[in-house]
Amino acid sequence: MSATLAKGINAFKEVIDTPIASYFSSCVHCGLCAEACLFHNETGDPKYTPIHKLEPLRRVWKQEYTLLGKLGKMLGLSKPVTDEELTEWEPLVYDSCTMCGRCSMVCPVGNDITYMIRKMREGMSASGHAPEDMKGATKRAIEIGSPMGIKWPAVQAQIKHVQAETNIEVPVDKMGADYLVLMSSMEIINFPEYLSAISRIFKQAGVSWTLAPDAFEATNSGIQIGSSDLAREIVSRIVVAAERLKVKCVISPECGHAFTAIRWEGPNLMGKPFGFEVKHILEVLDELHAAGKLKTKGKDKRPLTYHDPCQITRRGGVVEQPRRLLGSVAEDFREMPDAGVMNWCCGGGGGVSANSRAEPLRLEVFKVKKRQIEATGVHTMITACANCRIVMEEGLEHYHMKVEVLGLTELLAEYLVEGE
């Protein structure tokens, strides 16, 4: 599939729907979104103003869908969108936007700028203006099955390891299980604690669950690069497996954009409602906790704070669950400034962490996270997204900070009452 400017412009025309048209009509160029943006806030560079990152898309909207714009185009007065311009905009749309959604929260006229960036990436990737690293990750996700090139045998190896460690059988391909558990490649490679924690918690809670060899990967590079066709293909693997195994619910792992991909974009991509529920692992754990099935004993004495992953909290609605869960195991829980739906992004969401070109900028904007952590004075930070976790571990190392990052699921497993 070759990418051309014409395809990109066509994609721009296609993605402009009623919300986008009303958003562009409503924007009064007040510039408030700049102050909400991680990248503008930390660098002070006006080019990182969120609505400015959409300039080429705005011009296509104006030239194609407004009266004055059409008139201007007819008279040859308007500036067409060119390949050079899109090349210039590529770092703005991909490197300096994590689709964290803070700008969408502060816009006084209610523009969902994040949604527009997501849509603009459709035209960027169709015209060949996506970062090389993200193209590679998407290619691997389609051809191999995972953006990091992981295949089922790698998961099998981890299952073996977990089974030896916990003496609990990890169910695979179990027909009629209640839950289908997904993982992110980051968890498979870097954080085997997740699978081990899930096995122990679910055994204790008496939950019937399974893994699926054809749908273990939850991440979706198609969403990040902005290709709905590829995103659909990746989501459909999960849908097919969930339907095949007749599960009642699919559990999105400790990964931000995977939750957005499966829970919120999934049914729209597939064009039909799912025959099963999709929940984030924190929602499931919170339900088990409320039902008295997830019993913990003792409390962590370390001062702890919680980093809200953007796609899970602000863009996902899972806000109270982690607090309730942490409340049960943390003795000294401290909220960081701006915690909850206005939390600052780790700097690596929306595909930025997969894009090596963006690394210096990502480390620079980590300063805000540094300030947030320092304000709490803790040395242990909990989160619920493996990508946030790896990005923050890199940031912490870069700034020589002695802060440990843990996943919430594994923290809960540490205090689990077992064998009753």
């Binding site: 924007c27 006006p46 209610g110 739906v341």
Partner: protein, 110 residues
């Protein structure tokens, strides 16, 4: 409404518009974002206020001429409204509705 109150509101509105313009010109983000349309919208918003105030106080031009300029400027505002940023006065409700629906569906207060 009492004339004095209207008068005071007009003066306040004119002052506010100039403050907004100064801010638009001085803030680097706003200056970068602003184009012809933003300044046009500002101008056509100011003119009815200014000409109305001047007509009422018989300033500069003869009253009937100033009054006709005032009426003309209001017409200009109404004509340009659908084609400029001023249209946000209506589309803001559509945008807010979509944004509210998006976040509301997920249970996020915005």
């Amino acid at each position: 409404m009492p004339s004095a109150l209207v008068d005071a509101s007009v003066v306040a509105a004119i002052v506010a518009l100039f403050v907004l313009l100064a801010h638009r010109l001085n803030n680097p983000v706003k200056r970068m974002l602003s184009g012809f349309g933003d300044y046009l919208a500002w101008t056509v918003t100011l003119l009815p206020l200014l000409t109305g105030y001047m007509a009422y106080h018989h300033l500069m031009l003869e009253y009937t001429l100033m009054l006709s300029l005032h009426i003309f400027s209001v017409e200009l505002l109404l004509v340009l409204l659908p084609f400029t940023k001023l249209f946000h006065t209506f589309s803001v409700f559509v945008s807010r509705w979509y944004n509210g629906d998006f976040y509301g569906r997920k249970g996020v207060a915005s």
